[in-house]
């Protein structure tokens, strides 16, 4: 352990901004969108007061935010951008562009639902719609994890084995705008953990290169190379997390954080901030002797298929709480998880709980009902595969 951190009372947006300052990016380009704005405002202040020596580009759209980051990354700069919701979709064209070009851009996405109807609050429809863009995606539970994951994101993304962009997701308002006590790492420790970015994947005046070129006959090989390298990411995450723990004393359980899963008859899988509610309910139900467990899916890409299958093989009922809905089918996380689980010999009964759309609250009572339904399924009761939580419908 190096220098101790400093306790600060800040919001999730501010925690991200502080982490960005600690990570020393060369270029930040961003376009404001609620609820990401506080992050880019703070970063602008850091650039103004000189505590972050970076170029801040005021761009005219999210598409340009990512494109400017792409340009900067193309000459070897460490870059940061942040967005949310419609903004993420507006930059959607550039996401596979960046991942295909193998630029380790780090982006914060403040999860917010998609219009229409217009709404400001959080769900995961925005980022889950971009699962196929070739980006690493992590979902954070609190401001501390958001801060730590921004710092780790650069290490993982810039690893020569990885060279893949990284999206750090945190729930809009619930995390971005609520204040928590956060341990702010010392700069010298971050510098030790995260050395300056050096790469051969850049244009170079002394040894000219092309980046973002075309490949017709070789397209498939280039794309498969991305896949092969993405498969190395779980191992790199593990390494990086271990080192992070050694320096900063915190770790998050890799791709999936398990809580009371070992002997659970029913396990619920969650993403992001709602995990806190679920954890409290698991604690309460365990006190009552109910064998419930919880798994926080942290990474959606690369997808923790083996971990999820491992948990599934050890329980009777498994619920996936999706804060999204692929209209015409089911929750996106559920589709992914079920595909992982169908590999095992005797899969548990699986239920997809869809809730929290457009920021609809998921209370402890809602959560208890979810676990009660899972326990019923564990006892063999039949029911709907897809169930809506706290919705005004039958």
């Amino acid at each position: 352990m190096g220098m101790p951190g400093r306790k600060v009372f800040i919001s999730g947006d501010e925690a991200v901004a502080e982490a960005v300052r600690l990570a020393r990016p060369n270029v930040i380009s961003a376009y404001p969108i609620t609820p990401q704005t506080v992050t880019v405002e703070r970063i602008s202040e850091f650039v103004e007061d000189g505590s972050l020596k970076a170029e801040y580009l005021h761009v005219e759209s999210e598409h340009s935010a990512m494109s400017a980051a792409l340009g900067a990354a193309a000459v070897g700069a460490r870059t940061f951008t942040a967005t949310s919701s419609q903004g993420l979709l507006y930059m959607a064209e550039t996401l596979p562009y960046v991942s295909g070009a193998r630029f380790p851009i780090v982006m914060m996405n403040a999860n917010r639902t998609l219009a229409t109807p217009w709404a400001l609050l959080s769900d995961h429809r925005d980022s889950l719609s971009q699962l196929d863009s070739g980006w690493i995606q992590v979902y954070c539970e609190n401001a501390q994890e958001a801060m730590d994951m921004i710092i780790q994101a650069y290490r993982i993304a810039e690893d020569p084995r990885v060279m893949t962009p990284f999206m750090v997701n945190l729930d809009g308002f619930i995390l971005t705008h609520t204040y928590e006590m956060v341990d702010l790492p010392a700069q010298e420790n971050v510098d030790r953990f995260l050395p300056p970015y050096r790469t051969a994947n850049r244009m170079d005046l002394d040894d000219p290169k092309t980046v973002c070129y075309a490949a017709l006959d070789d397209y498939m090989e280039f794309h498969l190379k991305q896949e092969l390298d993405m498969r190395k990411v779980p191992g790199v995450i593990e390494e990086v997390e271990l080192e992070f723990k050694g320096i900063f004393g915190r770790s998050y359980g890799g791709l999936v954080e398990k809580y009371c899963c070992e002997d659970a008859e029913a396990v619920l899988m969650t993403l992001g901030s709602v995990t806190g509610t679920a954890r409290a309910v698991v604690d309460a139900m365990r006190m009552e002797g109910k064998m419930v467990g919880l798994a926080k899916i942290r990474f959606m890409r690369p997808f923790p298929a083996a971990e999820i299958a491992g948990i599934a093989g050890n329980t009777k009922a498994m619920g996936i709480l999706d804060r999204d809905l692929s209209v015409g089918y089911e929750g996106i996380v559920f589709t992914n998880a079920r595909s992982a689980v169908c590999e095992i010999e005797s899969p548990p009964r699986m239920i997809n709980f869809i809730g929290g759309l457009g920021g609809r609250n998921i209370s402890k009572e809602d959560m208890r009902q979810i676990f009660d339904q899972l326990m019923q399924a564990a006892r063999g009761e039949q029911g709907e595969r897809v169930r809506f939580v706290n919705a005004r419908c039958e």
Binding site: A54, Y97, A214
Partner: protein
């Protein structure tokens, strides 16, 4: 960086930085790129969005640049250029130029937002719009810079509609309205004038914009060997003009004593061959209106 003015072929380096591309024979756009890069030299970062130049020059493993070059997302040339320059600034990279080559659609339509943002930020970049007056790469569809009366695959000329009916957007005026430090129009028909303008752009400490008319034999329908001549005649007949915008003033660089025949210019090109007297008259009126304003408001 060597910043002397390049104004003729003798000043140009013999070295080619853009070579072996698969553009059509007699491509005006490729000449615009080639000459600009020869003026700017080897220490450059080039970004090109989707257009004929990117489609014919980055085909792994055949890369027709010997300088740093990348394909930018179609709408984002201005933003990518800004990003390159900001990255270079942050990393202490010196003595270089950042240059983009976007087509007419990539500039006046899908790329206009990013171009506007780039000019607003004022980063030291050179934005070249090579204008061949339609989306050539995708098969000659109408763009915002397709002139009135032009037959394209999405403005077919028939009994009811005489091809494109819009007026060519005034990109030069739009760019100037940003208060840009240096902007210019050019034509590959007057290559020395174009070289001089690229040289001036290279000396600019902020964003500069060059709009170069680059005839396309395939899309316009004329013999390949006439590319440069058509570019010259477009200026001589007054449908295009050579001008600069500098320190807040518009300056006309070439004032034809009298215009050559619009009708002859149009008849040389298949895209205009269907036009009747009425349409040609309309084009002539449009030219005269434009030149009335030029003579009144610009320094001549």
């Amino acid at each position: 960086m060597d910043e002397k003015m390049v104004t003729n072929a003798g000043d140009l380096t013999n070295t080619e930085f853009f070579y072996g591309h698969r553009a059509c024979a007699g491509c005006g756009g490729s000449l615009a790129l080639r000459l600009a890069m020869k003026v700017l030299g080897p220490r450059i970062f080039v970004a090109i969005p989707a257009n004929c130049m990117s489609a014919t020059s980055f085909l792994y493993p055949q890369v027709s640049f010997s300088v740093n070059a990348m394909i930018s997302p179609f709408p984002a040339t201005g933003a990518v250029l800004s990003g390159i320059e900001a990255g270079a600034r942050a990393l202490g990279i010196r003595d270089h130029h950042v240059v983009g080559f976007a087509g007419d659609g990539g500039t006046a339509d899908i790329g206009i937002q990013a171009l506007s943002g780039a000019i607003d930020r004022g980063d030291r970049i050179i934005y070249v719009c090579y204008d061949n007056e339609a989306y050539m790469n995708t098969g000659i569809q109408k763009s915002g810079l397709t002139p009135y009366g032009s037959r394209t695959t999405t403005t077919p000329a028939g009994k009811n509609i005489p091809g494109a009916v819009g007026r060519k957007k005034d990109m030069f005026g739009i760019v100037a309205a940003h208060g840009i430090k240096y902007a210019a129009t050019a034509s590959i028909g007057y290559p020395e004038d174009y070289l001089r303008k690229i040289s001036k752009a290279a000396m600019c400490k902020t964003t500069s914009y060059i709009h170069v008319l680059a005839p396309c034999s395939t899309g316009w329908g004329f013999p390949a060997e006439e590319t440069v001549d058509i570019g010259r005649e477009a200026v001589d007949c007054g449908l295009w003009y050579l001008a600069e915008y500098e320190k807040g003033d518009f300056i006309l660089n070439r004032k034809p004593k009298e215009f050559s025949s619009i009708s002859e210019y149009l008849k040389r090109q298949a895209r205009f061959r269907h036009l009747g007297e009425k349409e040609i008259e309309e084009i002539t009126v449009g030219r005269d209106e434009k030149w009335k304003k030029i003579m009144k408001n610009w320094r001549v």
